[in-house]
């Protein structure tokens, strides 16, 4: 049995970049595998819904093109999780295409184990019938009527399918939507290391050098995992880990600093010890897994809500700034009167007033003094792009000329920084499926040759 596993987390998010020297330094170690997380729900539901990646293909290609060749030469498995940002079929295909481009350009060939996480809608129907679907992280109850309309429903799997993929001995594991921890914990669990430590190490590793100081999601982290502890160290000598920087990481984007939940169970951090083990490395011990009685899988799916168009303008006139509510009311009425091309109730119009209350919403108390300038984003969302374009154009022209109490600047209320002043935002989605499934899912990897 191995006494220690050494692995590299390439960066906090595939495409965010890393220092080439970090990779060079890490390759001096005897690496068991290199992992990288490519996914996040942070940029919102658009990317899952539309099948596109919020990180651009050129960014992903840069990060993969440096690492693929040395990994193949040294026979170090490369594990990519939540490919393409959201991990559904189109996202996986994009990343596969980038791997093919790199292989062609650098005359490489490799075996890729692909794990698909697209969710069969029949499983959702079964889950509804058997009452096996629970809201996750504050989501509202699931509406079964939405099943046919869901865009790219995926299951966020744990370590099991990656373990199965690793057993096929591929050069690259390309995983669809998966837990960030699964990318880094699968290999250690396969080799008999304690799951609690493996999952905690993975939780820290998935963010790259975010646990180091200076913080850097755009840099690498080296992890050495043993049977009783693990050590994290940034391979970039300009960063260091401290007990506080590593402990603080367990707060990041998490509802509870003392524990976290994965399909494997609850990882309990209450007894954790963080010790400075060398100048830039921290050793962690005491993380324990309380295995789940029945493993659950988180499901994600987006719903198309319409199409967006926006117009951007600034307001300097003090009387206009003082009477924005009156202007807005006038514009809304005028739009409703003229917009015969869309039914009332089928579109939304928003006035985002930057400088006043666009960020923290109009629920908070208004500012005592008015700002010298206000930035206005006019937004229309409608059933079609054409309707949204027309609505925003209508609202923008009305807002430009809308009269209000005490108006002196009668030639126009808005300063447009751009011509054209209006922009298409494309389809708008929202998360409709963000639920835990309490039914077993089978997810079999397939092997593919890239030449």
């Amino acid at each position: 049995m191995k006494r220690e596993i050494c692995y590299l987390s390439l960066c906090g998010l595939l495409g965010y970049g890393y220092a080439p020297a970090s990779l060079t330094n890490a390759l001096k170690e005897d690496l068991d595998f290199i992992g990288v997380d490519a996914g996040s729900t942070d940029p919102g539901p658009y990317y899952l819904g539309s099948g596109s990646n919020f990180v651009k293909p050129l960014q992903v290609k840069r990060d993969l093109s440096l690492v693929l060749k040395p990994a193949l030469e040294r026979k170090i498995p490369l594990i990519i999780g939540s490919a393409g940002g959201s991990g559904a079929a189109p996202h996986l295909e994009q990343t596969l295409d980038i791997l093919r481009q790199i292989a062609a350009e650098q005359s490489l060939s490799c075996k890729v184990a692909i794990i698909r996480s697209d969710l069969d809608r029949d499983i959702l129907r079964q889950a509804v019938v058997k009452d096996c679907l629970q809201p996750c992280g504050g989501a509202p109850p699931f509406d079964p009527a939405l099943i046919p309309q869901l865009c790219h429903p995926v299951a966020q799997f744990g370590t099991e399918p990656i373990i199965a993929a690793l057993q096929m001995q591929p050069d690259v594991v390309l995983a669809g939507r998966c837990c960030d921890t699964a990318i880094f914990a699968a290999y250690p669990i396969l080799h008999g290391f304690p799951a609690g430590l493996a999952l905690h190490a993975a939780k820290i590793a998935e963010c790259g050098a975010l646990c180091a100081r200076p913080v850097g999601a755009n840099d690498s982290l080296l992890v050495r995992l043993r049977h009783d502890s693990f050590t994290v160290e940034p391979p970039n000598p300009s960063r260091r880990c401290t007990p506080d920087s590593v402990a603080a990481h367990s707060l990041y984007e998490q509802p509870d600093p003392n524990c976290f939940f994965e399909p494997e169970g609850e990882i309990d951090l209450r007894q954790c010890q963080f010790q400075q083990s060398s100048a830039r490395a921290v050793t962690v011990s005491g993380s324990v897994l309380h295995p789940a009685v029945r493993p659950t899988t988180k499901l994600e799916g987006a719903l198309l809500k319409g199409y967006r168009s926006i117009s951007i303008a600034g307001i300097r006139d003090p009387a206009a700034i003082a009477n924005l509510a009156e202007i807005e009311q006038g514009v809304r009425e005028a739009v409703q009167e003229s917009a015969s091309f869309v039914r009332e109730g089928e579109y939304t119009l928003r006035f985002l007033r930057y400088g006043l209350d666009a960020v923290c919403s109009r629920r908070t108390a208004p500012a005592a003094t008015l700002p010298a300038e206000v930035g206005l984003v006019l937004e229309a969302v409608a059933p079609s792009q054409e309707q949204a374009d027309a609505l925003v154009a209508l609202a923008r022209s009305k807002a430009l000329h809308q009269g209000f109490t005490g108006r002196k600047a009668t030639a126009g209320n808005l300063a447009f920084p751009f011509s054209p002043s209006d922009f298409q935002g494309g389809p708008v989605y929202e998360f409709a499926l963000y639920h835990l499934l309490d039914l077993p899912l089978v997810c079999k990897p397939e092997l593919l040759e890239i030449k």
Partner: protein, 103 residues
């Protein structure tokens, strides 16, 4: 003194698309305890500030690094039609405005 001025770190972020988490890190234990124990820092008060149901507001102290985590429901899920902050990274106000008299 404003909470924003007392805290070393005062930040907010999504904890999934339906929740926000606000982290408050302190330099001095006395500040950490003063805030944690204050009447205006209880779930009811914070819920009123953000106009959310108090039963969904959680306050989680993390004494090891003198940090308090507050978890709140979002008014609109990340990126949905009513949302104004997709990453939730500017929602540490109005909490940052809470006033604490000097000890």
């Amino acid at each position: 003194m404003r909470l924003y001025d007392i805290a070393l770190v005062c930040r907010s972020k999504n904890a999934g698309p339906f929740q926000l988490t606000i982290d408050l890190m302190f330099e001095k234990e006395e500040d950490y305890l003063r805030v944690l124990q204050a009447d205006n820092f209880q779930p009811q008060a914070i819920a009123a500030l953000y106009q959310v149901p108090p039963e969904y507001v959680q306050i989680k102290p993390f004494a090891r690094i003198l940090t308090i985590k507050v978890v709140l429901p979002r008014h609109a899920s990340s990126g949905s039609l009513q949302d104004t902050d997709v990453y939730g990274s500017q929602q540490h106000f109005p909490l940052g405005n809470l006033d604490f008299p000097p000890a």
